[in-house]
C-alpha cells in the first residue's frame, strides 16, 4: 500500500484524527516558537515516545524513515554552530571559522525543531487511516463534504496512479524513452511527457467520476447522512488537550518571566 498508515490497535490508532491533528499542530507550533534548545529537545523526545509507546510503532523503522531528517538536522547544527552571527563565546576554532556557544545552542534548537516537525507528521501518518481522516474532517470539523471530497479524490486516485505511471513508463521505454537518458534535457522531456500523460489520464477519469457522482445526487444538499459512527475516545482528546495546555503554559510563563528568547526566531530581529 502506498500509504505509510498501518492498521493497529494502539492508543494513537484509536484516537480520533482531529485530536491527532491538534497534537500535530501544537507540537509543531511548540518547536517553532521555542527559543531554547532544551525545550525543543524535550518536545522531540516527547513526540518520539508518544509514537513508540502510545502508537506502538516499530522504533527502528521510525528512526530509519527519519534518516533524511537526521541528515538535515546534523547539517543545520553544523551550519549554525559556525555561522551564528551573534556568537561571542568561541568554543572551538577550525581554521578561519569559530564555533560559538550561542551557535551550538541555536543549532541544537533548530535541529530538534526539524526533527520534531518531521517525526510528528510521520507518526501521525502511520497511525491515521486516511479515510477516517476525511470522514472526521467532515463530521467533526464540519467541513462541507463536497470540498472534503477533493481529499477523498486524491486518496482514490493514488493506487490507480501508481499502476498508470508504471504502464506509461513501460510504454515509453519500449519506444525508446527512458533508457539511460542522455542528460538533463532528455530527463526533463521524459518528466514532462510523463506528467502530461498522467494529467491527461487524470482528467479523463475525473470527468467520468464526476458524471457518475452527479448522477447520484452529489451536492444535492449542503450536508449528507452519515453512516459511520465517529469514535472520539476521551483519551485522544485528553492527549491533545495536554499538549495544548503545555504549549500555552510555556508561552505564558516565558512571556511573564521575560525570557523572550522565542522572539528571536521570527522575522525582524
Amino acid at each position: 500500500m502506498i500509504f505509510v498508515y498501518r492498521p493497529g490497535d494502539s492508543f494513537l490508532h484509536r484516537a480520533d484524527s482531529i485530536s491527532k491533528l491538534v497534537w500535530l499542530i501544537t507540537a509543531g507550533a511548540f518547536v517553532l516558537v521555542a527559543g531554547q534548545w532544551q525545550v525543543s529537545a524535550t518536545v522531540f523526545v516527547a513526540v518520539l515516545l508518544s509514537g513508540i509507546f502510545l502508537g506502538r510503532l516499530d522504533a527502528s523503522e521510525l528512526l530509519r524513515r527519519m534518516i533524511p531528517l537526521w541528515i538535515i538536522a546534523l547539517w543545520l547544527f553544523c551550519l549554525f554552530s559556525v555561522l551564528y552571527p551573534e556568537g561571542t563565546d568561541p568554543v572551538l576554532k577550525i581554521g578561519p571559522l569559530s564555533v560559538t556557544g550561542e551557535g551550538i545552542s541555536y543549532g541544537l534548537a533548530i535541529a530538534f525543531r526539524v526533527l520534531t516537525l518531521g517525526s510528528s507528521a510521520l507518526i501521525f501518518a502511520a497511525t491515521t487511516d486516511p479515510r477516517r481522516l476525511v470522514n472526521e474532517l467532515i463530521s467533526v470539523l464540519k467541513l462541507p463534504y463536497r470540498l472534503a471530497y477533493a481529499f477523498y479524490s486524491a486518496l482514490r486516485f493514488l493506487p490507480l496512479l501508481h499502476n498508470e505511471a508504471r504502464t506509461i513508463l513501460d510504454a515509453r521505454a519500449i519506444r525508446g524513452q527512458g533508457y539511460p537518458a542522455k542528460g538533463v534535457a532528455e530527463r526533463l522531456a521524459l518528466l514532462r511527457g510523463l506528467t502530461v500523460s498522467l494529467l491527461a489520464g487524470a482528467i479523463r477519469r475525473v470527468q467520468i467520476t464526476a458524471v457518475a457522482m452527479d448522477s447520484r445526487g452529489f451536492g444535492a444538499y449542503p450536508t449528507r447522512t452519515e453512516i459511520e459512527d465517529v469514535h472520539r475516545p476521551a483519551g485522544g482528546i485528553v492527549f491533545a488537550a495536554v499538549w495544548v495546555v503545555a504549549l500555552v503554559g510555556y508561552v505564558i510563563v516565558f512571556v511573564v518571566f521575560g525570557d523572550h528568547s522565542f522572539l528571536r526566531t521570527p522575522v525582524g530581529t
Binding site: 547539517w75 518531521g118 463536497r146 477533493a150 486524491a154 493514488l158 496512479l161 491527461a200 467520476t209
Partner: protein, 202 residues
C-alpha cells in the same frame, strides 16, 4: 414551452463543479507522488550540494502543481487547496519532511492565490509567472522561518527570497504554463457553462 431561447444558469462562474473538486484531488495525488518519489531525491541531492540555496533549483518542481491546477480551473481557492493537499499527500505517503512540507505548501499556496488574484484568475502566462513569484515568496519565508535562517541576517534572507521568487516564477511558472497548455491542447478538459434551450419554431 415558450418559443425562443432561454438561458439557464449553468455551472460556470466561481462555483466549483464536481469535476473541479475531483481534479484538484487528482492533481494533488499526482503532484504528491511525483514530488515524493521523483523530485525529493533530486532536491536532497541539490540541497546537499548547495545548501538551502539549492531550493532555488528544486522548489519550482514542487510548486507548479497548484499553478497547473489553477490554470486549468480558474477559480479562487484552487491554488491554495491544491498546494496544501499535495503536501498532505506527501505526508500520508511517508515523506520524512513531514510538517515542514505542510507549512511550506500552505504559504506557497497562498502565494499562488495572490498571483492569480492580481491577474483576476485568468489563465494567462503573466498570471502563471506572478503565481510562481508568489509561491516563491511564500515558500522562501516559510523555509527561512522553519530552518531558522532568519538569524543569518538580511544579507542572506533577501537574496534567498529573491532567488526563490525568480526561480519559481520563471521555471515554475513557465513549466506550469507549458504543461497546462499541453493538457489543454489534448482537448480532454472542457469547461462547463450555461446551456441554452433552443426550441423549434413551430
Amino acid at each position: 414551452m415558450n418559443a425562443g431561447s432561454s438561458t439557464n444558469r449553468g455551472t460556470g462562474g466561481y462555483r466549483y463543479r464536481t469535476a473541479d473538486i475531483l481534479l484538484v484531488g487528482a492533481i494533488a495525488a499526482v503532484g504528491g507522488v511525483v514530488s515524493a518519489y521523483v523530485i525529493v531525491p533530486w532536491a536532497k541531492f541539490i540541497e546537499g550540494l548547495l545548501g538551502p540555496f539549492g531550493a532555488v533549483f528544486d522548489n519550482p518542481f514542487f510548486i507548479f502543481w497548484p499553478i497547473v491546477a489553477a490554470l486549468l480551473i480558474c477559480k479562487p481557492g484552487v491554488g491554495v487547496v491544491t498546494s496544501v493537499l499535495t503536501g498532505a499527500v506527501e505526508v500520508l505517503v511517508g515523506s520524512a519532511d513531514g510538517s515542514i512540507v505542510l507549512i511550506v505548501t500552505l504559504l506557497q499556496g497562498l502565494g499562488v492565490e495572490l498571483g492569480f488574484l492580481i491577474f483576476r484568475y485568468r489563465a494567462t502566462l503573466p498570471a502563471a509567472i506572478a503565481a510562481g513569484a508568489g509561491a516563491g515568496l511564500g515558500a522562501s519565508i516559510a523555509l527561512l522561518y522553519v530552518f531558522g535562517f532568519f538569524q543569518l541576517g538580511t544579507a542572506v534572507q533577501i537574496p534567498f527570497i529573491l532567488a526563490l521568487m525568480a526561480g519559481d516564477a520563471i521555471i515554475g511558472g513557465l513549466l506550469a504554463w507549458a504543461i497546462a497548455q499541453g493538457v489543454i491542447r489534448t482537448g480532454v478538459w472542457g469547461g462547463g457553462g450555461a446551456y441554452q434551450r433552443v426550441d423549434r419554431q413551430s
